[in-house]
């Protein structure tokens, strides 16, 4: 068991640095809040295709998600902080993705896993949304079709870093109207 005493001992230098850097107590508390959030990410996998399968495998047989602090996979949006979009988002699926995102309580983060969720990937067709960022704000993109387990872990690390730094969200890309030539 680690109490606050141990924690302060472990992170003493870092905390000291923070204390020096901040002029108000609220700054430190804010940093502590972000630190807590980044270390207990509850994930919601929004899986639709091949990447969903790879995400299950990642947790089941390859890597320890516990180390990242996001081993708790919740299938209910109200209870999760991080949505992992794994797979192709079609036009038919898009309103559902949006409603699931809206149900999540803020603060919330989104990870686009695989090239389909990032940009539409191989499928530049009439039925596929060209990237999940057209529907919901995405924080981190993971390339690959499907991405390797190392890439997903790297993505999770990146998102933790972003949370710790308090990075701002990327806005939703508005779809441009088609050109009439």
């Amino acid at each position: 068991m680690t109490g606050p005493q141990d924690f302060i001992q472990q992170e003493e230098d870092f905390l000291l640095e923070k204390l020096v850097m901040t002029t108000k107590a609220s700054g430190l508390i804010d940093w502590l809040k972000r630190w807590g959030q980044s270390n207990s990410l509850w994930t919601l996998p929004f899986g639709s295709s091949c990447c969903a399968l790879e995400f299950i495998l990642l947790g089941a047989s390859q890597k320890k998600l516990d180390d990242m602090g996001c081993d708790i996979v919740r299938h209910s949006p109200e209870r999760s902080d991080l949505m992992i979009i794994a797979g192709t988002i079609t036009e038919k699926q898009a309103p559902i993705l949006k409603s699931v995102y809206d149900k999540m309580l803020s603060p919330k983060w989104v990870l686009a896993m695989g090239s389909c969720a990032s940009s539409g990937g191989l499928y530049r067709t009439y039925s596929v949304v060209q990237g999940a960022s057209r529907e919901v704000p995405v924080d981190v993109y993971i390339p690959g079709c499907p991405p390797t387990s190392d890439a997903v872990i790297e993505g999770l690390k990146l998102i933790k870093e972003r949370i710790l730094k308090g990075a701002k969200k990327t806005p939703v890309i508005k779809k441009k109207p088609p050109l009439n030539l």
């Binding site: 639709s48 399968l53 390859q62 797979g87 079609t90 499928y123 499907p146």
Partner: protein
């Protein structure tokens, strides 16, 4: 016998009947006589299984009528496939065949959705595209980038239920999916529950419709291989093999013996992986997640083998037209044999544990389907064999070296979840047996056909010889060009008969590609199968049928 049968068909159809290839017959029918012809084929010639209904838009060719509809039927006894061709205009209406084959319903809805072919008995709903979609995507004049937003998702519950006021009624509707842990992808099921019991179920598909068929019309034959990976993403190699075999059959190309053997090895390993995922997720959904973890760990061993061969774990793309992408790395065969050995050992433990566990049997002796119904819906593969029908393409029409290896076809008798589980777990053992036999007698020789029009020359030669350089350039630029013609080629996929129907007009891209996904007819029967059972049985049924959305929606 076969001659008599052919004579009967010839007498009835006259000169409209022809034999395109062995086991592939073609009949040209007309709109007026279509119903009679199909009735004759079903009742007198035992073409009991509807494989596929495929539309073609002939706008870019000078045909007198715009649309062409191809019906594919299978005679299980004689192992014959027949294609009935009908031509019709935009204004003409097609007679429905749902009364003859139950499984035709979704195929007809797809035909309306994709081509706008209308039917005599009223309009159809869209199947793969959403209900606000305008236009018909597979028509040649439809722009591939014409994306249309959906404002409100469809509510599947009946109108009377939505307007209900006051105290809740005895039965209620429960929505499952499209993003739900049970679906392993995006399927949507709506069940009407009365207590625990399912009274009715409704399905909606198309949440993973990615436009594979439209995309193929703009791609070269070799470029389509990576796209076939993502059809059934659990067993990518089997899709690769199915696609390449279709094109090779169209070109009358004989691939080297080593390529055939390698395709068998990778195909069977893929089948094992697919069955692992199916059984594993079945165990998880029934409340034994350790089963899933066990099977995924076993799967990991095979994935590592794939990674060693082609660098990918899931989307393999390991075949090329004319053979394989590369030869085996040194030491691969030995490693594979070791893996097979360890898999056999661990599988014995698990099958002992599951197959005779009373709890497992209690939970899985549910949701049976009779052989007659299964045929009417168009079941193939393990789900059909679980009903007791011995039909496996590897035995009936042995392609590659399947007639030289020893293996058995496991059969069920009740057609319930337990039998589907048993058939799959037994098939894993048989597949591993095939892998061992093939690797023991792996034929030497090239891994791809040595033909400059089909296969790329060796890379070391490309920079040295001008001839090889030109060949390389030409093949990359123009690709493989099969002759003018059409083919329906089928292989035994992990879920059943995986068919590719290809029309070529002698250009570098195909004119029309249609996949016959094995899941499609199977999922259609789902509401009928789960009626009267409980919700947890419905979950078990869904995973035992192994519905893969990528393949279902294409």
């Amino acid at each position: 016998m076969a001659n008599e049968f052919f004579q009967k068909l010839k007498n009835y159809f006259g000169n409209q009947f022809s034999e395109l290839r062995p086991h592939e017959l073609v009949v040209k029918s007309s709109l007026e006589s279509l119903s009679d012809h199909l009735k004759f084929l079903k009742n007198d010639c035992q073409f009991v299984l509807l494989l596929d209904i495929c539309g073609v838009d002939n706008k870019e060719r000078d045909f007198s009528k715009r649309f062409e509809v191809n019906y594919h039927f299978l005679n299980l006894e004689k192992h014959l496939r027949i294609r009935v061709k009908v031509f019709l205009d935009e204004t003409e209406r097609l007679p429905s065949v749902v009364s003859l084959w139950k499984g035709a319903e979704w195929f007809e809805r797809e035909l309306w959705d994709m081509f706008g072919v209308s039917f005599e008995d009223g309009p159809r709903e869209r199947l793969l595209n959403h209900h606000e979609f305008q236009g018909h995507p597979l028509r040649k004049d439809f722009d591939i980038e014409n994306r249309q937003k959906l404002s409100t998702p469809v509510n599947l519950a009946p109108e009377s239920y939505k307007k209900l006021k006051g105290p809740p009624p005895e039965s209620y509707w429960l929505n499952i999916g499209p993003s739900h842990p049970i679906t392993k992808g995006s399927l949507r099921i709506m069940v009407e529950l009365e207590g625990e019991k399912i009274k009715d179920a409704l399905l909606e598909v198309g949440y993973l419709h990615r436009g594979f068929e439209k995309l193929c019309e703009g791609l070269k034959y070799n470029q389509i291989i990576p796209h076939t990976d993502r059809l059934n993403y659990c067993s990518a190699a089997l899709n690769n093999i199915g696609w390449c075999k279709a094109i090779e059959d169209l070109m009358d190309l004989e691939i080297p013996e080593r390529a055939k053997a390698l395709r068998m090895v990778f195909g069977e390993l893929s089948r094992v992986v697919d069955h692992f995922i199916s059984i594993g997720s079945m165990a998880e959904d029934l409340g034994a997640p350790t089963g899933l973890w066990f099977f995924l760990e076993q799967r990991e061993k095979i994935c590592r083998l794939f990674e060693k061969y082609c660098g990918a774990r899931v989307s393999l793309s390991l075949t090329r037209i004319g053979g394989m992408s590369q030869d085996l790395p040194i030491g691969w065969a030995n490693e594979c044999l070791n893996v097979v050995k360890s898999l056999k050992k661990s599988l014995e433990d698990v099958s002992k544990m599951f197959s005779q566990l009373p709890w497992w049997m209690d939970k899985t002796r549910v949701c049976a389907i009779t052989a007659k119904d299964a045929l009417a819906w168009g079941f193939t593969g393990p789900c059909l064999r679980a009903c007791g029908i011995n039909y496996d393409l590897r035995k009936v029409n042995p392609y590659y070296f399947y007639d030289d290896v020893e293996f058995e076809i496991p059969l069920g008798s009740n057609g319930d979840v337990y039998d589907r589980y048993l058939v799959r777990s037994e098939e894993i053992k048989q597949s591993l047996k095939i892998v061992t036999q093939v690797l023991d007698y792996l034929p030497p020789g090239p891994h791809i056909v040595e033909d400059e029009r089909i296969a790329l020359p060796e890379k070391s030669l490309v920079h040295k010889r001008g001839e090889a350089f030109n060949q390389h350039n030409d093949l990359i630029k123009y690709g493989v060009r099969p002759p003018v013609g059409e083919i329906y080629s089928a292989t035994e996929g992990a879920n059943g008969e995986l068919g590719f129907y290809v029309q070529s007009i002698g250009e570098e891209t195909p004119y029309r590609v249609k996949v016959r996904p094995p899941c499609f007819p199977i999922f259609q029967a789902y509401p009928e199968v789960v009626k009267g059972s409980s919700l947890s049985d419905a979950y078990a049924t869904l995973t035992s049928m192994n519905i893969i959305p990528g393949e279902l929606d294409r």
